[in-house]
């Protein structure tokens, strides 16, 4: 066990998988010499050389499209898109090809690639550098969409993503990169993709969140206990798609109340699917409308105002209280 930041934990996952498996190659802008603008790939070029860590020219569609070709060949490319706000440049490569090739070839070919991208706000970044649009990928059949919530889950999910036989979009909450350290086992650890987990147990209310929203959710849960004597269960999705609704349904069947939290804009966002699954699967157990605490249906504002956009403990607690009194 070593205490490390999420940046270090992802670096560890990449390093170990590269050491284990020479099919794993990295490509992206500034990931080599520079170690990535967030230093996630720091030092990997020194260990593995320019043959396995490719500093690419500046073109996201080429990064994704080339990775599709590499993956078809049998490699396990891990590409970095410098910020998720620039992943739309390669949307067509992901939708038209990465997501479809196994299906189009009747299972004969496949695209085991990972596309990493930092997402979300909270680091006073320039515009286009703070959005959360995981719903785009979650709505795309053929892709998997994963978002870890801290160092340990990031490491374990990254290993799983690299080994996954299908394309995985891997969003990294940049607000978590260096926000805290966690014990990460030195030996191998994976978390199966497509499985959520309970990070706090509770009988009165279910909170469903992921990524950078897990910490405010947990804090909100503590506050609710302290001030209202309410025990909130907190579920960390980890995988957004395929969405694991088993745990959340079990939980809501017990609690009857739910708050769904994400940074992404509200409308047509992940919270809508989560809410709908709960409505479909636990309708008769619901005691109150499910509440969404989300980003507004706006572009995330420049950083002087972003704290007003991103859900915080107060908004979560308020929503939980409204849910509890109904």
């Amino acid at each position: 066990m070593t205490k490390m930041t999420m940046v270090q934990a992802i670096n560890l996952a990449l390093r170990q998988e590269m050491a284990n498996d020479d099919r794993v190659v990295l490509l992206g802008e500034d990931i080599g010499r520079d170690g990535g603008v967030f230093r996630v790939t720091e030092g990997l070029i020194d260990t593995f050389g320019t043959e396995r860590v490719l500093d690419t020219p500046l073109a996201e569609s080429a990064i994704a499209g080339m990775a599709v070709g590499m993956a078809i060949y049998g490699l396990r490319p891990v590409c970095e898109i410098q910020f998720s706000g620039f992943a739309y440049h390669c949307f067509h490569q992901l939708e038209n090809h990465a997501a479809r090739l196994r299906w189009r070839s009747q299972g004969r070919l496949s695209v085991p690639m990972v596309l990493r991208a930092p997402y979300g706000g909270g680091v006073r970044a320039l515009e286009h550098h703070s959005e959360s649009r995981e719903a785009y990928w979650a709505h795309t059949p053929g892709l998997k969409m994963v978002i870890p919530s801290g160092p340990r889950s990031a490491r374990a999910l990254m290993v799983a993503a690299i080994r996954d036989p299908d394309p995985v979009i891997f969003y990294e909450a940049k607000g978590l990169y260096r926000a805290f350290r966690e014990e990460v086992p030195d030996e191998e650890e994976t978390i199966p993709i497509g499985r959520s987990r309970i990070v706090r147990e509770g009988r009165d209310l279910t909170m469903i969140a992921y990524g950078a929203m897990i910490r405010p959710a947990l804090e909100a849960a503590e506050e609710l206990r302290a001030t209202d004597g309410v025990e909130a269960e907190v579920i960390d999705l980890l995988t957004i798609s395929p969405l694991d609704d088993t745990l959340m349904l079990q939980s809501v069947t017990r609690t009857g109340r739910a708050v769904v939290i994400h940074e992404a804009p509200r409308s047509f966002g992940p919270g809508a699917e989560i809410t709908t699954r709960l409505m479909e699967g636990a309708f008769y157990y619901l005691e109150a409308p499910i509440a969404r605490v989300t980003g507004y249906d706006l572009i995330i504002p420049y950083f002087s105002r972003e704290k007003w956009f991103i859900p915080n403990v107060r908004r979560i607690v308020d929503a939980a209280r409204r849910t509890l009194v109904s």
Binding site: M66, G107, R108, S110, G142, P242
Partner: protein, 368 residues
């Protein structure tokens, strides 16, 4: 300090060996064996006749929309003929002759164009990608394949096909740039068939050639008479060898013509003249090559005719077997296969819901 011209040192050439009047440049003529020449010719004839048959089937409503290749047989066969089985072949959607040469069955093509996902199954062990409909997008896959081939220290190369229209896409640009930067063993074959649906190449780009776009990437470019299978072969063989020997990628522009409609849903009379089409008919790659084979003594007219007959029989057999096969296919539940390596729970649920509906339907039908 001054104002001075900058010289571009990458080569840019035009190549033609056997012209439409039968003139042959003996110095440039490739040394192909009789067997190779006949293989080439047979593949071109197969492409032509199968195309015609597909058009019939489409007109009879026995398959859906498809893009005819007529006129482009030399341009694709001359190029793909230079590949080894161990090389990677990355088609666009108008390379039927090349796909068949690489081993794709006629049946699978019929299935595909009749709306059966089963038509996507490529021959096992073949290094062929399925067709790519999003124009230009496949260029990047070839770059990735070629990169991986070199990473694995093989002598494989990747050859990718695309049209004149595709050269306008960002993916074409990004792909050629990456290929040149990484000096991957790739050959980029542009079938310039003069039209991208209704847009002539003169309105697709302001440049007089497509080959010169190679200069934007620091790679050699060559323009060939795409209806001259010998010229295409020579250009492709050179490019393939260069790629195999670590010399990096090449852009080949095959100047050819789409003699038919864009797809069977298209009516080319809306945008181009019969005269233009007639002119290009004069430059048909097949008769030119047939005459060459006869002059050279590689085959008699009679032998070529027999070859055609055998090709037609082969096609007939394929059509029959495909139609039989399609009667057996079509279980709707199959659509849940192959999206992921493993069916995730939500799709499992959706699949069994559909299975339930189908069972109920069956009962209704039984009860009728």
């Amino acid at each position: 300090m001054p104002r001075s011209d900058i010289a571009v040192t990458d080569s840019l050439e035009y190549l033609s060996i056997l012209d439409e009047h039968g003139n042959l440049d003996r110095e440039l003529e490739p040394q192909l064996s009789a067997e190779q020449l006949l293989d080439l010719y047979r593949a071109m004839v197969r492409g032509r006749r199968f195309d015609e048959r597909l058009l019939d089937l489409q007109r009879q409503g026995r398959i859906g929309t498809f893009p005819p290749i007529k006129g482009q047989e030399a341009s694709q066969m001359g190029a793909v003929f230079t590949l080894r089985p161990s090389d990677w072949f990355v088609p666009a959607f108008r390379e039927t002759a090349a796909e068949i040469w690489r081993g794709r069955s006629l049946e699978s093509i019929i299935l595909y164009f009749n709306g059966f996902n089963e038509g996507g199954l490529s021959p096992e062990g073949r290094k062929d990608l399925p067709i790519a409909i999003p124009v230009g997008s496949q260029v990047l896959h070839a770059v990735g394949l070629a990169w991986a081939a070199r990473y694995r220290r093989t002598d494989e190369i990747a050859m990718v096909f695309f049209g004149d229209g595709a050269t306008s896409q960002g993916d074409f640009h990004e792909g050629l740039n990456f290929a040149a930067v990484y000096q991957v063993p790739a050959v980029f074959v542009c079938q310039n068939n003069q039209w991208a649906i209704s847009v002539p190449v003169s309105r697709q780009t302001q440049t007089p050639t497509l080959a010169q776009k190679a200069h934007a990437y620091g790679m050699p470019g060559i323009q060939v008479d795409g209806n001259d299978v010998l010229a295409v072969y020579v250009a492709a063989a050179e490019a393939a060898e260069r790629a195999r020997n670590g010399g990096g990628p090449t852009l080949i522009e095959c100047v050819t013509y789409r003699l038919m409609m864009h797809t069977t849903a298209d009516d080319p009379k809306r945008y181009r003249s019969d005269e233009e089409v007639d002119q290009w008919r004069q430059r048909d790659p097949l008769p030119r090559f047939a005459a060459y084979l006869q002059q050279k003594g590689t085959a008699t007219e009679q032998q070529l005719a027999e070859m055609e007959t055998r090709v037609l029989e082969e096609i007939q057999t394929a059509v029959e077997s495909a139609e039989k096969r399609m009667e057996e296919l079509g279980d709707p539940l199959d659509m849940f296969d192959h999206l992921y390596a493993e069916l995730p729970p939500h799709l499992e649920a959706q699949k069994s819901a559909l299975a339930g509906e189908i069972a109920a339907l069956g009962k209704e039908v039984d009860n009728d």
